[in-house]
Symmetry: C2
Subunit: 325 residues, 2 copies
């Protein structure tokens, strides 16, 4: 129980959740964190505006629909960040109770301007839900400073633990406006009873808790600003080294994630055979493009303990080899 | 993916799920397995009869209510098993689409007669949902032979792995009658897409999968009948040794679990101080009684790799010490 108390504090600091927020971890993967955020804030009669700029934005829209919200989608071309002014126009046209946006869109390698979107949402008195799965621990995230009301992440990306626990945080405002949660497993009230008031709810996975506590201690030992800078540094190094062998990134430079690099597939290259060669010859798994970006990009992660100069070198050599340089 | 295929086969055999069933593991604890069973079978308009003979029967009723069912409770005195004829009378009086029952009621140490209940439910064309959290791997369970339609368990009890994965199985009949699942994380269709058709749904916890695969291999190496017999043997040995120091079990002999022993607190004994002494002097955690059995029983687990002669001896010595024998 003492470790769980520490974990709550560590997670609150890594989200920069602030004093009034409630922070804990759901016993499941990042997707369970997404569902917990939605299940405690969405219900029939509530309206949601969802920024859909990739696969995970679409998933946000799906979840809010499953939980009964009337969902408006703000579709953004895959590979671009949302223009905050488009959010303002959408809200001016049709008010919403919830605004949902993915911070680091893993399917496109693009960062959405969460601070700006959350400020606009607050101007319309809407709660902002943010998917921070691929950003937390790897890129600046400031729940309190940005005015985010609910955010969730995973344990295995920027935070560098095994998957299986999903950090989640709710602002005081979100807690005031939470709904009667249909889910028992993801009910914030019951999770708080368990984490804070030590009332039995489920049997949390002890090895995952121990591993996560160690990983979060490593995050604090490194320091968040230094950790972000490390991710930025190796991202930029990869971009430069790939450029030297004729490869470029798909998103515009200011919108690029530091944790997930969307590399453009050069014309005439069979992207699947490159991924196969990475896996078979170099023991590196890189992701394929999804949806409209299928065949057009590779998705290359540099996250947590994987964001190193050695990873950048291995990746560059593997690309050079696979492309016959 | 090959390990996940093996895992499905192992879980199907340990449930004795049969050829037409769908078996996999939910990425969460046993409680997530409970919610997955309910979320895919319960909806407003469906009627459920729930056997409530303890804390976990009550939880089944809560979940079915959350998912919109009209729930009738068949309340049974805590510490007793349900009489199957009471189930028959309840169904004759008020038909139900779902009958839910806990096989091994962890709060009372009592086994309910699932085979008989499921046969009666089938006679009324109801689906049977069974909580096998504290029985699977420790006591005989025969999903196909008994005609169970949905059952779930956990990884850390009779199966002896860390917690964090929840085995679940649905009969062909249950799959035919499943509802549109509101949950995304627990949607059987999406989970099948992931486990069977390798379509991304969530990032399963690799260390939990590896540990579970090893634990299930150990179950198969030992053999289920031998494993059940081991649990029975050490349960009976504990009962005998406790009797020698003046302690007896709360449930009637034929209804007792082999995995969880409900030991009667002798009159005049401060049960909490006994538990404290177990923890502080012997590094053994035993459970308190819950609900109407608070202060009246201790709950002592002998499960998985913990069901050994050495555990029986340690427990007996700890009781003798704590009670001043």
């Amino acid at each position: 129980m003492a470790i769980l108390d520490d974990l709550r504090g560590q997670l609150s600091r890594v989200f920069h959740a602030g004093a009034g927020a409630t922070t804990l971890a759901v016993s499941g993967t990042g997707t369970s964190g997404l569902e917990a955020a939605v299940a405690n804030l969405a219900e029939p009669g509530r309206r949601a505006l969802v920024v859909v700029s990739g696969y995970f934005g679409d998933r946000l829209a799906q979840l809010l629909t499953r939980y009964g919200c009337e969902v408006s989608r703000l579709d953004v071309e895959w590979g671009r960040a949302v223009d905050p002014e488009a959010v303002r126009r959408a809200l001016a046209e049709r008010r919403a109770d919830l605004v949902a946006v993915v911070h680091a869109e893993t399917s496109t390698g693009v960062r959405n301007p969460v601070a700006e979107v959350a400020a606009i949402a607050r101007g319309y008195d809407a709660l902002t839900i943010v998917d921070a799965v691929t950003s937390l621990g790897a890129m600046p995230f400031d729940m309190e400073g940005w005015g985010v009301d609910a955010c969730f992440s995973c344990s295995q990306k920027g935070l560098g633990a095994p998957s299986g626990l999903a950090p989640i945080a709710f602002s005081a405002r979100a807690i005031e406006r939470r709904v009667a949660c249909r889910s028992f497993y993801l009910d914030l009230g019951l999770l708080e009873d368990y984490w804070v008031r030590r009332k039995y709810h489920h049997t949390i996975s002890a090895p995952l808790v121990y591993a996560f506590a160690v990983a979060l201690q490593e995050v604090e030992d490194e320091g968040l600003p230094a950790r972000w800078q490390r991710h930025e540094h190796h991202h930029l190094a990869l971009v430069e080294k790939l450029q030297a062998i004729g490869l470029s990134l798909f998103p515009a430079a200011p919108d690029r994630l530091w944790s997930l690099n969307a590399v453009r597939v050069p014309s005439g290259v069979d992207e699947a055979s490159v991924r196969r060669r990475f896996l078979e010859k170099h023991a590196i798994e890189i992701g394929a493009g999804l949806g409209p970006l299928a065949g057009r990009i590779w998705r290359v992660g540099l996250m947590g303990s994987g964001s190193t100069a050695a990873s950048v070198d291995r990746l560059t050599q593997a690309f050079a080899d696979a492309l016959g340089h």
